[in-house]
């Protein structure tokens, strides 16, 4: 009977074509609005490194002075250079890394090419293992390179292809700023969404932009590279020159711990509190101990990478879907109640209420299926419109398989919910009354 009812359902689409079209459009527009805005939300709030997001931790230490001090205030999101050095050497967790952004021009070997203006990161060798960065050619530099301030560089795939073409450039030299660096590796496709490893950046934010190169942290400091991005200094101005700046309490470096398990969050947090207490005693820190240690998802939530506007839009879009649902209930009610006579005849001929229920619910879900097809098409159109807003939106306004499936499911579910009341009403038809009036 299922197939027969399905057939009937499709055939009945052609009965009251205007009413049916109205239902399909209403349903699909509602589904498209909510699914395209929800897709953006889903992509924004995704876990960028699901297998270890609960054991990658970001520390925060309150480095301000006592001027304008409020107890329990959120410490700065980045660390100072002296703290970074001590945390790197702490031995806490299984790996540690620090990163800051650099703006620099790369001069290619070929004289006929203009220098490239690039944004990259200065970090330590553990960075690549911690964030599971794929390599197309070569390897990360080694811990010894960090210790020896080696002038080595890892390029993004796009930068490497711009400079050297589609060949393995490992071992070749290039000029970054005014110093020469040896290429040790080229990254594979690596576009974590959001760019969680360096959310605070001056080139694109959480969802757009990329790092064109990575060089050792120690080499960047030796070449006196200043960071591109935020640099917060408390009341006392740092002493003049680069040495004065890095010795100051200005915060400009992002730091990560990798724990052996999620439980290490407590261990490292305890160590961090201890560290802050000791630095307070030594006079480096001025404020009472005030630290944070967040895992990846807590960190993303803290930095509010999911835009408030995107959430408002998704909420209102689901409200819109609700109105569309109520509307569809009304329209289905109109459609089904026009067929009370038909129901009466079937019931009189022996069909049970259950049979009638099946038939009409299947008919409702046929409307849902057609709505799903149209809704899917409209969702893609909606996402296309959203992606036109900005580079960041283009990165997140992409439908993945989960969302595709969710869209189809939502359409059918919506039509089933919408069909329930009208179907139930159709079942209540009393055959005797219908037959008499005809």
């Amino acid at each position: 009977m299922f197939r027969y009812y399905l057939q009937l359902g499709f055939r009945s689409l052609r009965r009251n074509p205007v009413l049916t079209l109205l239902m399909v459009i209403t349903l699909s527009v509602g589904v498209a609005a909510s699914m395209s805005t929800y897709t953006v939300l889903h992509m924004m709030s995704g876990d960028p490194i699901p297998n270890k997001s609960d054991r990658l931790f970001v520390p925060q230490i309150d480095t301000g002075n006592m001027i304008g001090y409020t107890a329990g205030e959120e410490p700065d999101d980045q660390l100072s250079y002296p703290d970074t050095q001590r945390l790197l050497a702490s031995g806490q967790g299984v790996r540690r890394t620090a990163i800051f952004g650099i703006n620099s021009a790369i001069t290619p070997e070929r004289a006929d090419m203009a220098p490239l203006l690039t944004d990259g990161g200065a970090t330590t060798s553990d960075f690549f293992a911690m964030f599971e960065v794929p390599f197309r050619y070569g390897n990360p530099w080694h811990a010894e390179d960090d210790a020896r301030n080696s002038d080595v560089i890892v390029l993004s795939r796009a930068t490497s292809e711009k400079l050297f073409g589609d060949v393995d450039p490992v071992g070749r030299e290039l000029k970054l700023g005014d110093a020469s660096y040896r290429v040790v590796g080229v990254l594979g496709e690596w576009e974590p969404l959001p760019r969680y490893y360096r959310i605070i950046n001056g080139n694109g934010g959480a969802f757009a932009g990329s790092d064109d190169f990575f060089i050792p942290f120690s080499a960047a400091v030796r070449h006196e590279k200043r960071n591109s991005g935020n640099n917060n200094c408390s009341g006392d101005a740092p002493a003049a020159g680069y040495a004065g700046w890095i010795a100051s309490d200005c915060t400009w470096i992002q730091f990560w711990f990798e724990g052996a398990s999620a439980d290490d969050q407590f261990v490292i947090k305890a160590w961090l509190d201890n560290y802050a207490a000791e630095q307070l005693r030594l006079g480096w820190l001025k404020r009472p101990v005030n630290t944070r240690l967040r895992n990846t998802m807590q960190w993303l939530k803290h930095l509010e990478v999911v835009g408030r506007d995107s959430r408002i839009q998704a909420w209102l879009a689901f409200g819109f879907l609700l109105v569309c649902l109520v509307n569809t209930v009304g329209l289905l009610l109109a459609k089904f109640s026009a067929r009370a006579g038909e129901v009466g005849v079937r019931r009189a001929l022996g069909a049970t209420r259950r049979e009638i229920f099946h038939q009409y619910l299947i008919e409702a879900s046929v409307v849902g299926l057609v709505g799903a097809a149209l809704g899917l098409a409209l969702s893609f159109a909606g996402l296309w419109l959203i992606s036109k807003q900005s580079g960041a939106m283009a990165a997140v306004a992409r439908m993945d398989w989960t969302m595709l499936l969710a869209t189809v499911l939502l359409s059918v579910l919506a039509s089933l919910i919408a069909g329930f009341l009208p179907t139930w009403r159709a079942c209540q038809v009393r055959p005797a009354l219908q037959l008499k009036s005809q």
Partner: protein
């Protein structure tokens, strides 16, 4: 009037009426909140920046890989080069652009002994006629002049200028008593060696690069510095309608063969404004679309339901007509019925709108909905209901009394 029979008819067939009322309630809740957000975003993104005729302004940032030995001479050469281009009215280099979204944010102190800063403000510095180039309105004191300019090797020199022109909003914040700011002294930071500035003039308005929503979006200070840097950002005012051409010419002139300069960034002020408020305009368009669709869907729901009712009651209408009811009575019946349902929906909708607003206030830090938006939304939905029901009601009114005599 005939309200009682309408109500008792409605009570006998509640489902459809309840659905329509629910739909109107939800629509009102969403539309009134959406309208408020739209109004708010439009107001925010149309605030004036203080710049006179933004369509004539652009900025271009050029840089060299190595810091040139003659950075200052190079900047002066480039300023002259730009000023000599046809269509250029004024040129000034500046560390940042209003609405540019990145720049210097500093704490200002009236007295170094203070522990809390007097204001956080946007810190502009320029060696040239920035006030004139942006077309800012000087309302007090004087503009910065050549003799005010300090040449500073940024990063290796802790000096940071010594005279300042500030915005009126900042002057009011610093001197709430209304006394003149000109001649007063302020400090950036409160450290022992914090730079001190003499305020020499006040401009009517200058937004910060971030153009924050509150008064602080207009807290700005301009000082006279020529920075010794490997890059420079030039702001250019052009003759009307020539901004795109002059920007192309400027790029060609600055990067002509033999120069080691590269263009890091270039943007017309119109583009800068668009970029600053891109999220807001996207939000506005999204909400306008949802609002229009919502009204269409609700109208179609009302039309659909009214058509159904008319069809179900053809015979009764015929009987009424046969018993002497005029067409106008039938029309009035359906219009009144619709008004009753709409009113119930609107009453519920007002409650829902306030609840939704409460949710947005508590979870999204939105402002509270002014009641005027509820009134406006209610009126719009009443009208929508009347317009939507008029068609089906008219078709009911033209039903012939003869139908009463037929049997099915």
């Amino acid at each position: 009037m005939e309200i009682r029979p309408i109500v008792s008819a409605l009570l006998r067939n509640k489902t459809g009426a309840l659905l329509i009322a629910a739909q109107i309630a939800l629509t009102l809740a969403i539309v009134s909140n959406a309208a408020y957000i739209i109004r708010d975003r439009v107001a925010v993104s149309s605030r004036p920046s203080g710049i006179d005729d933004e369509s004539r302004i652009f900025n271009i940032t050029v840089g060299s890989i190595d810091k040139p030995d003659d950075a200052i001479a190079q900047q002066k050469r480039e300023e002259q080069l730009l000023a000599a281009l046809p269509g250029v009215e004024s040129v000034a280099s500046s560390n940042q652009v209003p609405l540019g979204q990145s720049g210097w944010n500093m704490s200002l102190f009236l007295d170094k002994a203070q522990t809390e800063s007097s204001a956080h403000m946007a810190f502009y510095f320029t060696p040239g006629p920035l006030v004139k180039t942006l077309g800012l309105k000087l309302i007090e004191g004087r503009d910065l002049i050549e003799a005010d300019v300090d040449e500073i090797d940024m990063g290796n020199d802790n000096r940071l200028g010594h005279v300042a022109v500030i915005s009126q909003a900042l002057a009011r914040k610093l001197f709430p008593g209304g006394e003149s700011a000109t001649g007063e002294h302020v400090f950036v930071g409160n450290a022992a060696d914090a730079p001190e500035y003499e305020i020499v003039g006040v401009v009517e308005r200058l937004q910060s690069p971030w153009s924050q929503h509150g008064d602080d979006g207009e807290y700005s200070l301009i000082t006279a510095i020529r920075p010794i840097e490997s890059y420079a950002n030039y702001i250019v005012r052009t003759a009307p309608g020539q901004v795109d051409r002059v920007m192309r010419d400027a790029e060609a002139a600055l990067t002509r063969p033999g120069s080691d300069r590269q263009v890091i960034d270039k943007q017309t002020m119109t583009e800068t404004r668009e970029q600053r408020y891109r999220a807001d305009s996207a939000m506005v368009w999204m909400l306008v679309t949802v609002t229009v669709l919502l009204l269409l869907v609700t109208a179609s729901g009302i039309v659909g339901m009214a058509t159904l009712w008319v069809n179900q009651r053809r015979k009764q209408i015929g009987v009424r007509r046969a018993l002497g009811a005029r067409r106008f009575d039938i029309l009035r019946y359906f219009l009144t019925e619709n008004l009753l349902i709409s009113s119930a929906g609107i009453a519920l909708g007002c409650v829902l709108a306030l609840a939704l607003n409460q949710l947005l206030v508590s979870r999204m830090e939105l402002a509270r909905l002014p009641l005027g938006y509820l009134g406006g939304g209610s009126l719009a939905l009443w009208l929508l209901g009347v317009v939507a029901v008029y068609g089906p009601a008219w078709r009911a009114a033209v039903i012939s009394p003869a139908i009463a005599t037929r049997s099915a």
